[in-house]
Amino acid sequence: MMSAGLKSKWAYLAVAALLAFLILVPFDWFLGRYTTLMIFIGIYAIVTVGLCLLMGYTGQVSLGQAAFFGIGAYMSAILSKTYGVNPWLAMFIAAVMTGAFAYIIGYPIFRLRGNYLAMATLGLGLIVWVLFRELSHFTGGPDGMAGIPYLSLGGFVFDSAFRRYFLVWFFCMAVLLISQNIVRSRTGRALRAIHGSEAASESIGINVAQFKVKILVLSAVYASIAGSLFVHHLRFVSPQPFDFLASVKLVVMAVIGGLASVWGAIFGAGATRILSDEILLRFGQWDIIIYGLILMLVMIFMPEGLFVKLKEVFNRLRLRYRQKGAES
């Protein structure tokens, strides 16, 4: 359940520290060697924020979020490479089309009660993935498409990891702040009411289906933007990163980070990517065994997610200091 969060001074401090950290990361004297890793974390965090909102507020599991991620990716790729459309325009068009698609399928999906949503999102993800694979004339088929252009602003081309890092995290921060605003706004309150009780919300005049569709559309737009950033970084697109397992990984990221707060998305995306892309690299085939084990352990001991746990730890430390302060 998403909480609005209090505007404590610690919250501001934490955001400031995070921003400072993020700005310093890509420099070689700091954590520059992890720039590419951080780019992926940023991209996946954007998708995860949308998924957090969707799952946090509708209380259901979406097993097809990779579909929106993929649609954004492929549309950006096809428009900018095959049709020579300006990549920014392509990204915009992709986001609009993905959002529209989510809107159209949103109403029928939310008519399906309960666990049919999981099934519907699963079906959606699979169908879209089959289309990516089979419409090979447009998508390049299972081999994918290479040679996607870089993004550029005027003469400034985002052709180095350093530049793309800032681009991606700019979008990521923007998405986070927008989402945090939504959470605090009337829409957020309406969504929390819906999560508490759909019947009660209906009775006070909230159009439950409409809000759910709005959240679906928003999550789809976020995922689409992330998809566009993804292909302009990799300069390659194929169906593989958008299959069923990818949707599952996104759900894992969202829950590990914590569905209670949009900031959890960074932790979820960060923790899972760091684990699979850095820590487990040298384990050979044991990488998936350890990954599964860690996943289970994290969820057993931190069921609310990393972000909530970190807040808990921080608050406990703060209380201890306060007690010591009171005693002295």
């Binding site: 008519r111 666990n115 099934m119 694979r133 990488d287």
Partner: protein
């Protein structure tokens, strides 16, 4: 399309559908009792198959004991999974528990990959591989075993849930866990039983289908997916509905290949089957909603 061909498509569809339905049963049991979508269900099937291979082929046990031991081991793994992973999570939300099952699935898959390697294997057929002719269509004897097992398991499950105390307790827990705990049904024990049963059924599915479908450490993902769809169509409510959902999925997939309609070649069969099934769901839920309003 000739009548023979149509019958053949049906036979193939029913065979596949039985496989999906059997896996769907496992999903349904766990979901009904605990509201958890068990992402490791496919892995139980995989384990059943690989274990039966090792016991029957490598260790040279006679067939029947090998199968029984394989199913028992799979059930035990299901029990361990519940006790070590799910129960220790105490009051975690359903979503968190689902992630635990995902972690368990990945873990089990990885261990299987280490133990059995990455190649596909085939346990011995139960009764040979000479195909049988049936009104112009051919069916593999193992396929008959699969369909037969699905029927038998479904009937036994149905009888169990309806007529035995434990079965009725499980149903009660599924319908209303709070109320049933008030009359003495321990939800934790029920959950354990559900996991063991689902693992056992998964294992049974695995041992009977592995000679036909081959098995390997990574078959759990796709099988689990299809079984989940089967259970979802059945509404996660009853074993009969799950098997029905599975049969529907299998038959529609087969007919989608038969149709070969324009650009929608057999490559689209999975997508077509899902679209058809989701439309059915939509229509049904529309009718359900109407019943709720007028009834």
């Amino acid at each position: 399309m000739s009548a023979d061909q149509f019958l053949q498509y049906l036979v193939s569809g029913v065979t596949q559908g039985s496989i999906y339905g059997l896996i769907g049963l496992g999903f349904t049991i766990i979901y009904a009792v605990t509201k958890i979508i068990n992402f490791a269900q496919g892995e139980f099937v995989m384990l059943g198959g690989l274990l039966s291979f090792t016991l029957a082929h490598s260790a040279g046990l006679p067939l029947a004991p090998a199968l029984i031991v394989a199913v028992i081991i799979a059930s035990l793994i299901g029990a361990f999974m519940y006790l070590l992973a799910i129960r220790t999570a105490k009051s975690a939300s359903v979503v968190s528990l689902i992630i635990i099952t995902i972690g368990a699935a990945i873990f089990i898959r990885g261990i299987a990959g280490e133990l059995w390697g990455v190649d596909a294997v085939r346990p011995p057929y139960f009764s040979g591989s000479t195909s049988l002719s049936f009104l112009g269509a051919y069916i593999h004897p193992q396929a008959l075993w699969i369909i037969g097992t699905t029927v038998v398991v479904t009937i036994i499950l149905h009888l169990f849930l309806t007529y035995t105390m434990v079965g009725k307790a499980l149903k009660a827990c599924a319908i209303n866990p709070v109320a049933s705990s008030m009359v003495g049904v321990n939800p934790k024990i029920m959950a354990l039983i559900a996991f063991v049963m689902a693992a056992a059924i998964g294992g049974i599915g695995g041992v009977v289908m592995a000679p036909f479908t081959l098995t390997a450490y990574n078959v759990g993902v796709m099988l689990g997916l299809k079984g989940f769809v089967a259970a979802a169509i059945g509404g996660f409510k009853s074993p009969l509905a799950a098997v029905f959902g599975g049969l529907l999925l299998g038959i529609v997939e087969s007919l989608a290949v038969a149709a070969n309609w324009g650009p929608f070649t057999s490559a689209y069969k999975d997508a077509i089957a899902l679209i058809v099934l989701m439309l059915i769901l939509l229509v049904r839920s529309g009718k359900l909603a109407e019943e709720e309003r007028t009834g």
